[in-house]
Every structure is written in structure tokens, then in C-alpha cells.
Assembly symmetry: C2
Homo-oligomer: 207 residues x 2
């Protein structure tokens, strides 16, 4: 089994590396799939906030993937016009078991034609934009609809990927990943959601 993580110029760091850490803990401690990073080319690329990374594989040599995760970032709105990326994502959807998106990565799934009659979510800043594109938007931290998983912005991909592990491999595997990554957030809020214009429904729900 193989789990691919898509990189493109300007992807948001934590969108990819949060889920990557969860998935590689699954690989290491609970017999999860082999995790690989993939981009159109093997060139170095700069992330949204300046981190420098390079993918291990290209579209041409990625081979068959069981799962693909697509991160977001402001540059997702450019990347969603890249025919090579859209064809690669479509191929993964055809051949694999699940496609996951984080943040504005959902718009790449949209452009690839994967969101027809699929409920999904995205970063809170672009929920309206996704709705206007005709998608049934569900304002949860993450949404699972058939073979498509999508999450809110940036850090929400961590929660989604952990839920994905539980779905694919059972709660014991997810628990192993959770304590290996010490993912027991303190849950502290540093402000009031009432001061957050455009907060998604899940954040506005009493805790």
C-alpha cells in the first residue's frame, strides 16, 4: 500500500506535513502504507511560508497510489489551472482508494472534477467560494464522503488524517499513531470565536 503527498510551489507547510507526520507514524508503528512525496518535477520548491522542500518522486515515476493527499495554500488557486496536476489527481482518484484534501487543496479536487455530488469543506476564508462553485459545503473540521476526504484550513488536516487512519485501519491503529505523535492538544483557546469574522460552523458550536 502507498500513500502519496502532493507538493507544488507555494503549498502551505502544515497542510502537508501535519498529515505526513500522522501517516508516517501509521507506516512506522501500525503497518500503514509507505508514504511518498510527489511533485510535477524534482526541482526544489519554496512553500507558502518559505520552507524549502523537494519531492521524492515525480508524476512520471510515482507509480500506483492507494491514497493521495492534496495540500492547500494561496497558490492552490494557481495550481488548479495546471493540466498536469489535474490529470495526476484524476489518475489517483481512478486507481486509488481515497483522495484527501486540506484547506484550499479542495479547489484542486474541484478542478479535477472529483467533487460532483460530493459534500466537502475547505479553509474558512473560502467556504463561500467553494459553495459558489456548486459544491455542497459542510462546515465541519473535516468531511468524509465516499472516497473523498476534505478538511478545513492548515491544522485541520491533522485531525482529518487521524480520522482517516481510524477509518482505514481501525481505532487501535489511530490510537497508536496518536500517542506516538503525542497528539493530545491542550485545547486552549486564546480568544473568543465571536471576534472571528467568518468562523466556520464547527468553531462556533459550543465546545
Amino acid at each position: 500500500m502507498r500513500f502519496g503527498f502532493l507538493m507544488y510551489p507555494g503549498y502551505e507547510e502544515l497542510d502537508l506535513i501535519g498529515p505526513w507526520e500522522i501517516a508516517t507514524m501509521w507506516q512506522t508503528y501500525a503497518n500503514g502504507p509507505e508514504c511518498v512525496t510527489i511533485a510535477e518535477t524534482s526541482a526544489e520548491m519554496r512553500c507558502a511560508k518559505g520552507l524549502i522542500t523537494r519531492a521524492g518522486l515525480t508524476y512520471a515515476d510515482a507509480g500506483t497510489l492507494d491514497y493521495l493527499l492534496v495540500p492547500g495554500g494561496f497558490s492552490a488557486f494557481e495550481e488548479m489551472k495546471n493540466p498536469a496536476t489535474l490529470e495526476f489527481v484524476r489518475q489517483c482518484a481512478r486507481e486509488g482508494k481515497a483522495v484527501l484534501s486540506v484547506c484550499s487543496g479542495t479547489f484542486i479536487l474541484l478542478a479535477a472534477g472529483l467533487l460532483e455530488d460530493v459534500r466537502a469543506t475547505t479553509n474558512w476564508k473560502v467556504l463561500a467560494r467553494l459553495r459558489e462553485a456548486g459544491v455542497e459545503v459542510i462546515e465541519e473540521r473535516y468531511v468524509h464522503d465516499g472516497r473523498i476526504w476534505s478538511s478545513g484550513g492548515v491544522s485541520a488536516g491533522i485531525d482529518m488524517t487521524l480520522a482517516f487512519v481510524a477509518d482505514q485501519a481501525g481505532p487501535e491503529a489511530a490510537w497508536t499513531v496518536q500517542y506516538q505523535s503525542e497528539y493530545l492538544p491542550d485545547g486552549r483557546l486564546y480568544g473568543s470565536v465571536s471576534t472571528w469574522d467568518g468562523a466556520p460552523a464547527y468553531a462556533r458550536r459550543p465546545g
Copy 2:
């Protein structure tokens, strides 16, 4: 103001990139310090789980830093023997306002001589080892003692860095970072802490 993130071969991905995302959100949305990645050399390096990254600056050209974050990973126990790294960390401690460690990165601070009479924490797997080294270990998700901040394993660095932003810039800045990164974890536990041998005290506390 400048915030440095130390890279070395085999560092654990999320140890660095969780805090990096929080700090770069601080930079972008709340007038936080400029964030930079730093390593001994400008060579590409492979992380603990295989991610390929490269630091933007080397020890020689890092300049003065106000803050330094040191990630962990199994390779931290090798890196703590690297004199160039220890001297760089010491220099940052002398010239800067705070040094932060995540996970086994705390052992690099220890080797640099920064933990004398300082309470600290680390990854749950090596709490006893840190205690045996003479450090007063506090089993919290993160510990702040003077100019030294330390956290538990992997994902705990995110909570620490958010608390650090609140400490340095106030809760409004931390709240801005929190909603920009949509860091409102769902808090779900996939198993029982009673099945986690060696769980740190904070995890064993009733929620």
C-alpha cells in the same frame, strides 16, 4: 526581530514544521518576527520520516536571532554530540531572548549546558533519561522556565509555540495565529490512556 528554526539530519518533521507554521502565521498576520531555517550546511537533508528539506541559512550566515527553536527526533541523540551545533545553540542562548525545544530536542539544549537549574520536558519515551541526566523534569505538555521553553513529543511543539506567542506578544496575537491556522483541534481520543505505557502525567490527568 528574528526567529530561527534549527535543522539537522533526521530531525522529526512535525517537531519543526508545527512550530514553524505557528511562528510564520505570527509573522504574517500579527507582526511577529521574521522566521528563518538554519543548519550547519546548505546541503539538502532528509528528515526522520523521509521528507527532504534544505535550510535557508547556515550557522555562519545566520546573524543574530531573538529566538531559536530546536526540534527532536531519534537523531537528536547524535546531533547532541556535534560541537558546531552546540556552540551555535549556546551563542543563540547568549545573544537571544529565548530558546525553545521540542521532543528530544531538549537533549541538545542539555548538551549545550542550557538546562542547569532549569525545569524542562521532552518526549514521553525519554522522560526518564532526561531525569537521569539531572534535569528537573515536569511532565506537562510544555514547560516554560525563564528563557527556556520545552515541550513533549512531536505535536506538542504546536501548543508550546502558541503559548510562546501569547507570552511574547499577548493573547490577541496568539488568537489571530490560532484562527489563521484554524488550530481548533477536535480533541478526540482514539483509545484509552490506560493502554499507553509510559504516558506523561499531563496525558493521564482527567480531561
